[in-house]
């Protein structure tokens, strides 16, 4: 209703809560400072770092980031709210991102999304009861040639059919990228252990279907 008033004067940050940013995270954020002329420019990397570590960027984390970057918390909120990838509230361990671009929708993306929703029993922006999965949709994952597709944490699943969804969701390693990782940003929570044991480059490339197609194409 139009006339309800939201109280924005009251703080949502618990003053007694422990710091949301560990010293390591702070150090990591600080390590980005030399890259940019202003501290403010470190905001996006900092948000990524915090989200990758904590799973989401809480209001407390925002205040602390603001402190670190010497800007007003509202500026953090401003930037954060503009981008769609940041979570301000806790999310599941794995985030299923289903593509809803035109290509994917033409190739049956809607059915896949429906199936994912059915399997997880959640709606968009929801988190499953066991805290394992959160579901979002994204405008385009730039995998139109493999439509429909979705990303679980970092890993892209391509050429999906609704029938495949159950299997993929059941697969333990459905969020693991098996390529050499850079340590610049921390891996998402679910993928931490996967990053250590990087499979051989050979096998990984061989296993991606698009390269075969590319080879055929050339």
């Amino acid at each position: 209703m139009a006339w309800k008033t939201i109280n924005r004067q009251e703080s949502v940050v618990d003053a007694d809560a422990p710091s949301a940013l560990s010293e390591a995270v702070r150090e990591k954020i600080r390590s980005f400072f030399p890259r940019y002329e202003t501290k403010r420019a470190v905001l996006l990397p900092a948000l990524w770092i915090v989200q990758n570590t904590n799973g989401h960027v809480s209001h407390q984390a925002m205040v602390e980031i603001a402190d670190l970057l010497e800007i007003h918390p509202s500026d953090v909120l401003d930037t954060l709210s503009f981008y769609t990838h940041f979570w301000t509230h806790p999310k599941g361990k794995k985030v299923v991102t289903v593509c809803r671009s035109l290509s994917c929708e033409l190739m049956g993306g809607a059915d896949v999304l429906a199936e994912v929703k059915k399997q997880l029993g959640i709606d968009e922006h929801g988190t499953s009861a066991d805290g394992q999965y959160s579901l979002v949709t994204e405008e385009c994952l730039a995998c139109c040639d493999h439509a429909p597709c979705m990303i679980i944490n970092e890993k892209t699943h391509k050429h999906l059919r609704p029938a495949d969804v159950a299997g993929i969701l059941a697969d333990e390693s459905n969020d693991r990228l098996a390529i050499p990782r850079s340590d610049l940003f921390d891996a998402p929570l679910g993928a931490v252990e996967g990053s250590g044991e990087s499979a051989s480059v050979d096998r990984v490339i061989g296993s991606t279907s698009d390269v075969d197609e590319m080879r055929d194409a050339d």
Binding site: T5, V13, V63, F82
Partner: protein
């Protein structure tokens, strides 16, 4: 035509707007030139005191540009935001072409798509740019049949409410907190059609200048809690005035209706306050309508109290002062001139006292101070300063000093006066107060009052001197008087009377006017003419109210 150009600037480019030549200030934008030239160009995001963002896209114009291939000057196929385009000699633009008009119409439709039609309950109605522009440029009916985005009302600060539905996202308020107050509380959240103005929860909009965001808001999005629902703006009358809150002396406008001041708004004055004023001044008028004000004069002789007619008072006071002077000598007379008095009033009272007792001492009242000067954006120094709140919480110290200088003779500061008065140096004194808060030390005051035989006390509120006073006179608040204040930079600004004083009380100035033996109607103008002989600054150099070059 050329109101924007004040003579100080030498370079005056001429540009052609709608086939009319307009002379304008160097460095101004085309929009400013057009507005100054009398064009009604709609605009939201542009505010002369803030950075240009050119995001509302209302002020677009057509412009002659060299063709990329032939280099011939011709109307460019694209529209250009006039707020962002600076004037150049010989530039030719137009606002009256069809694409420009069509754009404004379309833009107004877009603005109103999700804007609730709640003008009847919106406090901005009547001074709302969305209303005005819709009426002038918009279409009568909305073609959108779908649901509007509904956004809640947000309590973003102790003094301000934010009605998100009504926002046109001009971002003036955000830029104000960034550029003028430097406090950054307001921000945008989300994107696209879900954009909202917001604060970070727990970091409310609470800075000494925050009231200005309500002024810069072109629509009814940001509203003053203090003025909320009080009055519809079209029933308000505005009187140009000067803020009496501190020595900065912001030019303001007093909005009042039916003898009640409802709000103060800043008035554009590039020499003092630009477009802004501080909250302390903005909400500092409340004491005017306090119940505890002194409203009747009292005269005491012995143990007898009486309430004489106002018309009789000058005679009574004159008689008793003369009586006292004859008994005790004229050097035992003093007058304390409050820094809340207008220059005219101080001059008239000084004249009366010196006429009655040529050796009388003139005293300047205590100057209330608190802390340091506050500069904005917060922490700014030197040329970066956009606004200052003075530590001197009185409007007219400079003015009283000027009057005392002109009067010559014996003068004292207040502390010295108190010291000598308690020692019994004065047998007659006229003490003017007018301070919105308590200003006298009670013990000293009582002691002082006991030593002064004929004590005339004039104040807005009761003060400890009144117990021992022979004459107690009510004083008027500055909105009830006319006169002039001299701010700390020495700028003389006149202010007009907005409301009438409490029932029966004459304007201070008019009373002094009669007391000093003048006849006829009291006007500040008449007194200034007299003062000009002694203080040349008053001859011509008072600030006439400047018309803002911009709608706000």
């Amino acid at each position: 035509m050329t109101a924007a150009c004040n003579g100080r600037l030498k370079l005056m480019p001429k540009i052609i707007i709608d086939n009319k030549e307009v002379e304008c200030r160097e460095g101004a934008s085309v929009l400013e030139a057009a507005l100054a030239g009398g064009w009604n160009v709609p605009h939201y995001c542009f505010h002369p005191g803030l950075k240009v963002v050119a995001s509302c896209r209302l002020c677009l114009m057509e412009m002659k540009m060299p063709h990329p291939k032939t280099q011939e000057l011709d109307w460019a196929p694209k529209l250009v935001p006039s707020c962002q385009t600076h004037v150049r000699e010989g530039m030719e633009v137009r606002f009256d072409s069809d694409p420009v008009k069509k754009n404004v119409e379309n833009c107004m439709e877009f603005f109103l798509l999700n804007h609730p039609l709640d003008c009847p309950v919106c406090d901005q109605a009547g001074e709302c740019h969305l209303q005005d522009y819709s009426f002038e440029f918009g279409r009568a009916e909305s073609r959108m049949v779908d649901e509007k985005w509904k956004n809640p009302k947000k309590d973003i600060g102790p003094k301000t409410l934010l009605y998100q539905d009504r926002c046109v996202l001009c971002s003036r308020c955000i830029r104000f907190t960034e550029e003028i107050s430097g406090t950054h509380e307001l921000t945008l959240v989300n994107r696209g059609s879900k954009l909202e103005i917001d604060v970070f929860p727990g970091f409310p909009l609470d800075n000494p200048l925050q009231g200005n965001v309500v002024d810069v808001c072109p629509v009814g999005c940001l509203l003053d809690k203090d003025f909320l629902f009080k009055k519809r703006v079209w029933s308000l009358e505005s009187t140009p005035s000067v803020c009496a809150g501190c020595a900065t002396g912001c030019s303001i406008r007093v909005d009042h209706a039916e003898r009640v001041v409802h709000r103060l708004k800043p008035r554009y004055n590039p020499k003092v306050n630009d477009w802004w004023m501080c909250d302390e001044g903005r909400f500092g008028y409340k004491y005017v309508h306090d119940d505890k004000r002194v409203t009747t004069p009292t005269v005491r002789r012995g143990l007898e109290d009486s309430t004489p007619e106002w018309a009789d008072l000058p005679g009574i006071i004159r008689y008793r002062l003369e009586e006292n002077v004859q008994a005790n000598g004229s050097e035992k007379v003093a007058a304390v001139l409050s820094p809340f008095m207008g220059c005219e009033e101080a001059w008239l009272l000084g004249k009366f006292i010196r006429d009655a007792a040529p050796d009388a001492t003139l005293v300047i009242g205590p100057i209330p101070r608190s802390g340091e000067d506050q500069t904005f954006p917060i922490g700014a120094t030197g040329d970066d300063i956009r606004f200052t709140i003075s530590q001197e919480k009185c409007p007219n110290r400079r003015g009283i000093e000027m009057v005392l200088e002109a009067a010559g003779g014996k003068t004292l500061d207040f502390e010295a006066f108190v010291a000598s008065a308690t020692a019994g140096a004065f047998s007659a004194a006229w003490v003017v107060g007018g301070y919105p808060a308590e200003w006298l030390d009670k013990k000293l005051a009582v002691k002082m009052a006991a030593k002064i035989e004929l004590l005339i006390v004039q104040d807005i509120f009761e003060n400890p001197l009144m117990g021992g006073a022979a004459v107690v006179l009510p004083a008027c608040a500055w909105v009830e008087r006319e006169g002039s204040f001299v701010n700390k930079a020495g700028l003389i600004q006149t202010f007009e009377r907005a409301i009438s004083p409490p029932e029966g009380v004459p304007q201070d100035g008019a009373f002094f006017f009669a007391l000093a033996g003048f006849e006829g109607l009291y006007t500040g103008e008449r007194v200034r003419e007299q003062m000009a002989g002694k203080i040349p600054a008053f001859a011509d150099a008072y600030e006439a109210p400047l018309k803002p070059v911009h709608a706000h």
